[in-house]
Amino acid sequence: MAEGGAVQETAAEPGGAQRGLQSRRRLVPYYLLGPAGAWLLVFLLLPMLLLAYTSLQSGGILSGGFHFTWEFSNYVDGVRQYQKFFIRSVEYSLIVTFVALLLAYPMTYWIAFYGGRWKSSLLLLILIPFFVSFVIRTIQWKFILGDNGFILGPLKSLGILPDSYHVLATPLAVVAGITYNFIPFTALPLYVALERIDKRLVEAAKDLYSSRWEAFRHVVWPLSLPGVFAAFLLTFVPATGDYVNAAVLGGPGTTMIGNIIQDKFLTQNDYPEAAALSVVLMLGMLVLASLYARILGTEDSTLAAAAGGAA
């Protein structure tokens, strides 16, 4: 139909064939966007709209169900009541992200620069735990970190730890569990960025009398920053919403916002409030991510690092 219309238009005007080709070309991007656009529409945009719609409902499940009433108080009440949990979740996931970066960076650096023939196998080793369900792996940690399990048990009988010491049901267990679960998310973007760095640049730096440390600081680190940026986001954002670790490994005082939302949906059947909290979490993550991008935008940071190095 579109082409028919275009052809009709062009037939009536001088230089029409040229115009026809141009307008068809203009439509090609939309055709190419079509499938992905439809997918995003159905699986991203619509659910977001439904979530926002639910968040503005009011009512109760025991009586009459829920009705759309522009109930913005869901947001106000939600943030006021649960701000402690938002803050705690952000705290936990900041710790998780930094620890994960600290652990993953040296590991991926080594694989990228010294891995040689075994790069893919080593990467596979990082990814293999991923093949087992997230929840099952977290539950396994309950056994590993058990009060008298095979780590704490021997330590306790040797007298290194007091008998009443326990890791489970403490923030340490929750943060450790989340870090463990998200290390592949941190490692992969870092690996991709480090892999792409031309090793000859390091050689060139060494030729110009820089030590190994200076070569890292002035060449490798700035070039890997896009990867660090991506790894940070890929770890921080999902870790904030995590609820499995706090539920399985945590105790009182470690409840995260994900647990609150889960409780609201499944235990309290308070769908509007749960939806409101979810929207607040999403918007919060969006704002933090955009701020982060602003402050540590990738091109600027490499230029800044280079300028700093030269000066």
């Binding site: 219309g5 939309y30 439904l50 499940i61 025991l62 009443s164 105790g251 059947n269």
Partner: protein, 429 residues
Amino acid sequence: MNEETDRALRDGALMDAIMRARLTRRGLLKGAGKGAAALGLGAFLAACAKGTSEAAFDPKQIFGGQPGDKINFANWPLYIDYTKDKEGNRYIPSLRDFTKQTGIEVNFQEAIQSNPEFFGKLQPQLQAGQDTGWDIIVITNGRYFTALVENEWVYPLDPSKHPNFDQNAAKWAKDPTYDPNNKHSMAWQSGFTGIGVNNDLVKGPVTKMDDLANPDKVGKGLVGMLKEDMPDWVMVNLGIDPKTSGPTEWKEAAAWMLKQRDSGVIRQYYDQGYIDDLTAGNLSATMAWSGDVLYYKTWAGYDNLVWNFPEDGALHWVDNMLVPAEAANPAGAIQLMDYYYQPEVATAVTEWVLYLSPVPATKQLILRDAKKAEEQNYKGYANKLLATGDNPYMYPDDTLLGRTSYGRELKTDAEREEWDAIFLPISQG
């Protein structure tokens, strides 16, 4: 924009708008709005509409007539007698026998993991007056049970259709306070909430609720509490009758719970997974359901575990069979429900599930099975059956029952919100 574009947009579909005309931001938003409206809101509005007819149900009409060929039975996990046949496939003997006797097939699903979750799944359909797909559901007495009854989302039973129940049901199962005259439900199994104790880890007898807040008896960071049962249980042990309690009493119970939390004894607040931690030695004492601890102690050999009936009272809860509105086969459903009140069938279930049976006659049958097993030289099995049959918490007498209480029924959303506002922050921390 040209005429063609306007027509396309008026027709509504987003894809149309893209394919036919040049895409502008305004056009995109218009089309998206219509698309979202068409696909999303329709479903919501349908769910929210009050579609149930409020006419009174006539039990004789509903449960009369011939039962259909199939019954869909939703129940909790591990709550019926399972066994393995010769090839090692799992099956349910009591249901197989029912099908043999009546020719009705039963589709048994462990679809219920928690009352609020299952209620949340059924609510939209019940509200819209649609068939939920289930003929029998099993719901614990409490706010969801009350909501189903008050909203007329379950059928009132025909009293002439459950002779076995009338003959064999225990006194506590007949005419309970949460369902007078068993108008809507028949008990499936029941239990008590008390204190589960690991004798290796406690430093003295733990028989009262206050012991669970005393670090000298239970140590620090070794006590578990059950989130859903907590408020009612604490009220019972403080001498308050939950059924008549109001916000003042709730705040009293909350104050005790905060005191307990501040004393540092709490390990975790559980939904239901406390038993793993208790058996693993991570807990010294916890709020516990009688059947769970009974199983591990009597049948799995955990001699260090014991279930104590709290001195000041325990919570009594009952899981009840109900027939949801618009069920496809109510006549078959009530037949199956009554079938489980035959003593032999009830014994088969209780010997496996190890919770309170609503049929007291099962006690003698369990003891008879114990004797039979002993004669056949299955000494271990016989002892276990004996311990089960003799257990006072499986077959409580009236004095014991007098020391228990049902929980508070929260009838309106307003009450529910107030309750949650007082109690949830304690476990959420």
